[in-house]
């Protein structure tokens, strides 16, 4: 194994050497993910039940506020109870929100790695992206139970679920790369997340159906189509409770996803050398 250490790396995408290195450290990635999962619900009574309780509680709150008080309950397409509608939106959303928050703060939370040991830094923001999947799977099971309990049949559109999930993970990872690399130097980013995450949620069809957004001004609709979480949240819901797959919105959104991911890797790669100097 030969290593060369020189001044700064150029702006460039991952090359073969980078990939080989990440593969060499795959066991570390696995151990960090296991650590995250093991530590998360240690010393709690509910344990992994929290993965269900958190989105379910939020779904109940939204059902009271938007479902009854704002009268959205009657405007749902296809006779889906509002609580099922919003819980189906909250399952992918909660994954996105917790993974992105975890990823953004990951470098800051692991400064001891940055200053004391070398391994490919990209593993650090990738860890929450993977570890939060456990919560996601648990809440997905809860969603399926809820759907069946309301007597709704799982629709055939569920076969598209893998596409939606891949887009969800790639979007989260791309944003995680950008935000974590910025947050380590400018801690403001972490403060901003408190506002950014709720704003992003209301921009996606989590509490309101997509139809409401489509009635807005054309330029707003265009902007929201390029916002990846619009297609992902709606697509996920269609996979679970039926309806028309929003293919063209998913397509526009995935363009954004790939731009964020591609530039995110380049940005992170250029910044990673200096993480130890800025913490």
């Amino acid at each position: 194994m030969q290593t060369e250490i020189t001044a700064r790396k150029k702006w460039q995408f991952l090359d073969g050497r980078d990939l080989r290195e990440v593969i060499h450290y795959k066991d570390l990635l696995y151990m960090l993910v296991v650590r995250d999962i093991n530590v998360l619900y240690k010393q709690t009574i509910l344990g992994f039940a929290w993965a269900i309780v958190k989105p379910l509680f939020q779904a109940l709150i939204f059902t009271v506020i938007f479902g009854y008080l704002a009268g959205m309950a009657n405007k749902m397409q296809g006779n889906i109870p509002y609580i099922v509608f919003t819980f189906a939106g909250l399952v992918p959303w909660t994954y996105f929100a917790t993974a992105i928050t975890g990823s953004t703060g990951s470098l800051i939370a692991n400064t001891q790695f940055l200053t004391k040991v070398y391994f490919p830094r990209i593993i650090i923001p990738l860890t929450p992206i993977l570890s939060k999947m456990v919560d996601f799977v648990v809440s997905l099971v809860a969603l399926i139970i809820l759907i069946l309990a309301y007597g709704i049949a799982i629709p055939p559109t569920i076969i598209y679920l893998p596409i939606v999930l891949i887009l969800l993970v790639l979007t989260t990872f791309g944003m995680g790369l950008w935000l974590s690399a910025m947050a380590i130097q400018y801690r403001d980013v972490q403060q901003l997340m408190q506002f950014l995450v709720p704003i992003l949620m209301y921009m996606a069809p989590v509490v309101l159906p997509l139809a409401v957004f489509l009635k807005m001004k054309p330029w707003v609709v265009t902007v929201l189509s390029f916002y990846p979480m619009t297609g992902i949240v709606e697509g996920f819901r269609v996979c679970m409770v039926g309806g028309d797959m929003p293919w063209h919105i998913l397509l526009y959104g995935s363009i954004t996803t790939f731009i964020i991911l591609f530039t995110g890797i380049i940005f992170f790669r250029a910044k990673e050398d200096f993480f130890a100097d800025v913490v």
Binding site: M1, T6, R8, R35, N38, L114, Q185, Y186
Partner: protein, 421 residues
Amino acid sequence: MAKPIITVENVSKRYRIGLKEQVDDSVGGAIMSILKSPFNNFKKLRNLTSFDKDDEAGVFWALRDVSFQLKQGDVLGVIGKNGAGKSTLLKVLSRITPPTTGHIEINGRVSSLLEVGTGFHQDLTGRENVYLNGTILGMKRKEIEKKFDEIVAFSGIEKFIDTPVKRYSSGMTVRLAFAVAAHLEPDIMIIDEVLAVGDAEFQKKCLGKMQDVSEHGRTVLFVSHNMQAMQSLCNKSIMLENGKLKMEGRTDEVINFYLSKHSANQVEKVWDSIDTADGNELIRMRAARISKTDGTGSDVFYVNSDLNFEFEFWNLEDGSMINLSIVLNTIKGETIFNALSAAKRISKGVHRIVFYVPGNLLNDDVYSIDLYFVKNTTDVIFRLESAISFEVHDIPRETGWYGKWIGAVRPILKTDYLEID
């Protein structure tokens, strides 16, 4: 000749140091600076990674044009004062931070141990932490599995391996962490001051392990303030000073050079003029000097060196009966001994008193000497505290133990060792 395993060429590393904040002296100024602070903060944070040409003031070179080569099996000691750039060098070699300029080529797998137990998580058990820490240091899970029993046995905490680390004593955590590190099998090992942790017995174990590592043909880079350990582990050393490579060579030579520059020595003190010298109307100091009795070598004193303590003074009262009493203290203030010269009736003028201190009496430590000039063997007529100070260094030992040798003095006693039955 074999290809060097590490080649370091003209490596420099620049850091930005915090400049003094400006303080406002008016309410208006204070308000303005609050409004402006986001811009200033942004500039400051951005400047952590970008350097303008015109502000050399806030810039600090932790390393400057450092070059050296290591062959396989070399054990290199890195010596230098705090802030000399030792840790930065190790960080650059470990790829934690990139050099500002220069080039390094490494042929082999590197493990760096800049800290023991990086990534240990309090809520995880010892077992889980062994795996986590092992993979952080670059091991594969399979590798750890194979060595797991060995690691646990080395740490000596078999009973607690499934207990969360937060219930461990700090000593136990260190043991376990070092046990993991000790079972790495890299081609090149970079170690920073890990010997500063743990109790004496454990340190001994660690040093033994390090000796093993180097005997197996691995290359080791080692930073420590423990000259004993350096002396016996490292076949070559470099000395850094203010980021520059000051000396490179055999370990004993480099250590000698380092000690001669950085001992807490003030081995000679001369008072130029009788008018300004310490003293009073009876006695004035002229010189105080510590030197080796045999007059050889530098001003580096070892525990086995015979020393001369030499004091010159002006006696200003003709025919008075004077003797000198010296008190030798360690830097921590413990008194080691008090010694007296003979009392002598002396004439007005310059006199010199020499105390001969044999080798193998003083332990390694930093010492200072208080002087008491006594008249008629009863009255202290002049007292000078800490007249002079010097350091006594340890010598290379034959034993496997490199820690501090305890005791106020360190004599070599004549011993009999007989078989009687």
